[in-house]
């Protein structure tokens, strides 16, 4: 059970990394508009030539 002393900090580091990635996505403006990207996902064609 002493493995917990490794696992717990490891889990927290992963959580921290996830939050960091999320913050990056927010700063890049990916979450400003939540409706339109959902519609774009339904297009079949490839984007611009």
């Amino acid at each position: 059970m002493s493995v917990l002393y490794v696992l717990l900090p490891l889990a927290l580091i992963f959580a921290g990394a996830a939050v960091a990635v999320f913050v990056w996505a927010v700063r890049a403006g990916q979450l400003d508009d939540l409706e339109t990207p959902a519609i774009r996902a339904l297009y079949d064609d490839d984007r611009r030539a």
Partner: protein, 810 residues
């Protein structure tokens, strides 16, 4: 009177469907209007005809395309570029343009596909009707991009309020980051908490117990000090300013929970409630985020309003005419306004006689004749002939500009309502604090060692998380359902206001009536309808166009009219089938010597009393048919209004149209003369709403720019289908379906939503009552708290999303 001799082949008037938008078009023609034809051609030429498939896939609603054909030259002016675009480090420019006519997913597809060389990026924001573009200024000019959008039917405007939107965007992003931190801390703390729960039953070695306790504490610190600070700071403000606010009970619970947990962690014994506290913070922030999104819509729409004022004008300099931005127009400048365009500034007509659609400002549905010496106003539409206007006021100083500013200020004067949840929380806090004192005193007498623990437990578990979610969830769910039913609501507080009784004021033109002229009644010989249509097809007069679209077609070859003589503004004479026909106003027909039978004279009298226009049809000197043209009342107007009366509302009519016409219409639907006002200016409408609002709540229903200020001052402003962009921006609710019926649905839906909110609060409070009893009895431990508190939130979620607030059986 001017007479012209026109001999042109007649066009039989039957209807088929427009190939672009599906609305009725005259037969032998595939399109309902030039706009649709242009867009159809362009889509096929560019290989974008897949648009029609995409539109069917998304079940997009069709609308006639509006192509203005402007050259947008003013967008290349360095002043405009500096003000509305950003220069990026790599040399490209970015801008946000507001697009008219964006209404469905297929529009997004079309706009993002339509590329020009030099356009680096274009992203549409469907909700805000903006397009974010980035382009290389060396390869393509902004005006070319604007022309492209315009040619597809989406007239672009440089959007106003960019700095405010940037500030809001930063705020929204900050909230999202806080949500992420709160969520991450909460999730990981729960993992540790689960381990601790297991330890309650099976026992846990002390060292690991301490590991988890300190771990939870470590996670609680960023959660409470970062994202959670919003609540205890808000609670502190509520205490200082003595105003009731939902934050007060929440703040107390969070602070007590954190402090007691910290103390117990350092001591090494005693219960810790970090998991419940962090769950609270996370779930409540989600509720806030939902609320914030809704409020954003309302604020942004009002700002975008300013994008709709005329941005450019055609300046006449000597022999040349060039497009300039509106800021460059000075007093006394001569501006050219072609037929079909908006007048760009307030001023005096120098030359040219035309008719002007001033419905924007007056609400009057009939065009007004205007000639040299008459005033013209910015924003009105020049209908028939090219005119030259000497500019006097532009932009914010024009009548339109002042109206738009009025809209803004009116919104600010509107009284904010204290939401139901906030009122409840004031009482709640008092009750809880009283119970806490009782608990403490009680346990002190029985078993002092447990007094603090039980009191702390009480203060934490009775923290009304669900109460903080009750309103935003119900509102969010209701707004979603309403949107699917064609009722677009901008904010939750509109729903709460709509559920209260009061006065409903209706605009007339376009709201209670259809807003356009149509054939209301036909008296006499019906068999001559196709021939009348064939004759009227030669005229561009609004009445002629109404007749052409309303009457059936299919005139046989022998009956094709010839020798057509039109008298502008009065009528048409023609020969057909060996007889002499006259179609026109009664005065014109009589002046040509026709005899009018008594039935025709009676019909004319009756229609005049109903404020309709009469058209006589005479054959060989005898009036054989008569038609009434008018702005018809909507089919469901009468029934909807009586339904609203039954719901307990007082009704009134407030219109800018001619007072006589208004009183006739109001009378026909049972609105009393005291509650009817015609010939009211936009400023007058605002005043009426202002006065009435001092006594009771006012709901205003309208569709034009002349209603916009009143719409924004009223407790709730409802913009009707087909309304001007300005009223859409000023109103709290936008009805995407025609008719007066949706208003009844709106109010019934709002009442149902309030019932759901109250039900949610009842659930939340009953869970809290249970927890209170358990806590006072000393039976609470973190496990029970962790089960019952989320359960109350889940119940509120289920109750909100399963309720059929709008949309009937869906």
């Amino acid at each position: 009177m001017v007479t012209t001799d026109v001999t042109a082949p007649a066009v039989a008037a039957a209807t088929s469907a427009c190939l672009h938008c599906g609305l009725p078009a005259a037969a032998a023609v595939d399109f309902c209007c030039e706009g649709c034809r242009t867009v159809y051609g362009i889509l096929h030429a560019q290989g974008l005809s897949r648009y029609y498939l995409e539109r069917d896939k998304f079940e997009g609603k069709s609308r006639p395309a509006k192509v203005t054909g402007k050259s947008y030259g003013e967008l290349d002016d360095p002043l405009v570029l500096a003000k509305h675009t950003k220069l990026l480090p790599d040399g490209s420019r970015s801008a946000e343009l507001y697009l008219e006519g964006v209404h469905c997913a297929a529009c997004v597809w079309l706009l993002e596909r339509a590329q020009l060389d030099g356009m680096l990026d274009s992203r549409v924001d469907l909700g805000r009707r903006l397009v974010h573009i980035r382009w290389d200024p060396r390869q393509v000019a902004l005006s070319a991009i604007a022309r492209r959008f315009d040619s597809l039917g989406y007239a672009p405007h440089p959007s106003a309020g960019a700095e405010r939107r940037d500030a809001q965007r930063r705020e929204d992003r900050r909230l999202l980051v806080q949500l992420a931190i709160a969520g991450a801390c909460f999730g990981n703390a729960m993992l540790m908490a689960f381990a601790l729960y297991g330890g309650l039953f099976a026992g846990m070695e002390r060292e690991y117990e301490q590991l988890f306790r300190w771990g939870s504490f470590a996670l609680a610190i960023p959660s409470v000090l970062g994202p959670g600070s919003v609540f205890w700071k808000g609670a502190w403000r509520a205490v200082r300013e003595r105003t009731p606010h939902m934050d007060l009970p929440l703040g107390i619970g969070i602070v007590i929970g954190f402090v007691s947990g910290a103390v117990n962690t350092i001591r090494g014994t005693g219960e810790i409630y970090f998991d419940s506290v962090m769950a609270l913070i996370f779930l409540l922030l989600v509720g806030r985020w939902l609320q914030r999104r809704q409020q954003r819509r309302a604020a942004e729409a009002a700002e975008l309003l300013y994008s709709l004022a005329p941005q450019s004008a055609r300046l006449i300099e000597g022999e040349a005419v060039r497009e300039v931005p509106i800021e460059a127009v000075e007093r006394g400048a001569l501006l050219e306004v072609r037929a079909g365009e908006h007048v760009p500034a307030d001023g005096v007509i120098e030359c040219g006689s035309t008719s002007i659609d001033a419905s924007l400002l007056t609400g009057e549905s009939r065009p007004v004749a205007a000639g040299p010496g008459d005033r013209a106003h910015a924003g009105t539409i020049n209908l028939s002939e090219r005119i030259v206007v000497r500019a006097e006021e532009t932009g914010a100083d024009s009548r339109l500009g002042k109206l738009l500013k009025m809209v803004d200020e009116a919104a600010r004067r509107r009284a904010p309502i204290v939401l139901a949840a906030d009122r409840a929380s004031a009482i709640f806090v008092k009750v809880i604090l009283t119970l806490a004192v009782i608990t403490f005193a009680g346990w002190w007498l029985i078993d002092p060692s447990r007094a603090i623990d039980n009191t702390v437990a009480l203060l934490i578990v009775t923290c009304p998380c669900a109460l903080g979610l009750a309103t935003p969830l119900a509102v969010s769910a209701a707004i979603g359902r309403a949107a699917r039913a064609g009722i677009l609501i901008k904010g939750g507080d509109a729903l709460e206001r709509l559920a209260r009784p009061g006065l409903i004021l209706f605009d007339k033109t376009g709201t209670l009536t259809e807003g356009r002229q149509r054939l209301v009644e036909w008296s006499g010989d019906r068999s001559v309808m196709p021939l009348v249509a064939a004759i009227e097809a030669h005229s561009a007069h609004p009445i002629a166009r109404t007749l052409v679209s309303a009457l059936p077609g299919g005139v046989s070859a022998e009956l094709v009219p010839s020798e057509i003589r039109q008298t502008l503004g009065a009528g048409i004479e023609a020969r057909a089938g060996g007889a002499q026909w006259i179609v026109g106003s009664p005065t014109f027909v009589e002046s040509r010597g026709a005899t009018v039978a008594s039935w025709a004279a009676e019909a004319r009298q009756r229609w005049s009393a109903e404020a309709h226009t009469t058209v006589f049809v005479s054959r060989d000197g005898q009036v054989i048919a008569a038609a009434a043209i008018g702005d018809a009342l909507r089919d469901d107007a009468a029934s909807s209004l009586s339904a609203l009366r039954r719901l307990g509302y007082d009704l009134g009519v407030l219109s800018g149209d001619d007072a006589r016409v208004v009183s006739v219409v109001a009378g026909s639907i049972g609105v009393s003369p005291e509650a009817t006002r015609g010939g009211v200016s936009p400023e007058g409408k605002l005043q009426v709403v202002e006065d009435a609002s001092s006594e009771r709540q006012v709901i205003m229903v309208g569709d034009g720019v002349n209603d916009a200020a009143a719409l924004s001052r009223a407790a709730v402003g409802v913009a009707v289908h087909g309304g001007a962009e300005a009223s859409l921006a000023a109103a709290d609710v936008f009805l995407d379906r025609p008719g007066v019926g949706p208003i009844v649905e709106l109010i019934e839906g709002a009442r149902r939503t309030m019932r759901v909110i109250k039900r949610n609060m009842a659930f939340s409070l009953s869970y809290n009552a249970t927890l209170t009893v358990l806590a006072m009895a000393g039976l609470i431990n973190p496990l029970i708290a962790a089960i019952l508190m989320p359960l109350s939130s889940l119940t509120v979620v289920a109750s909100s999303y399963r309720s059929r607030t709008f949309g009937g059986e869906r």
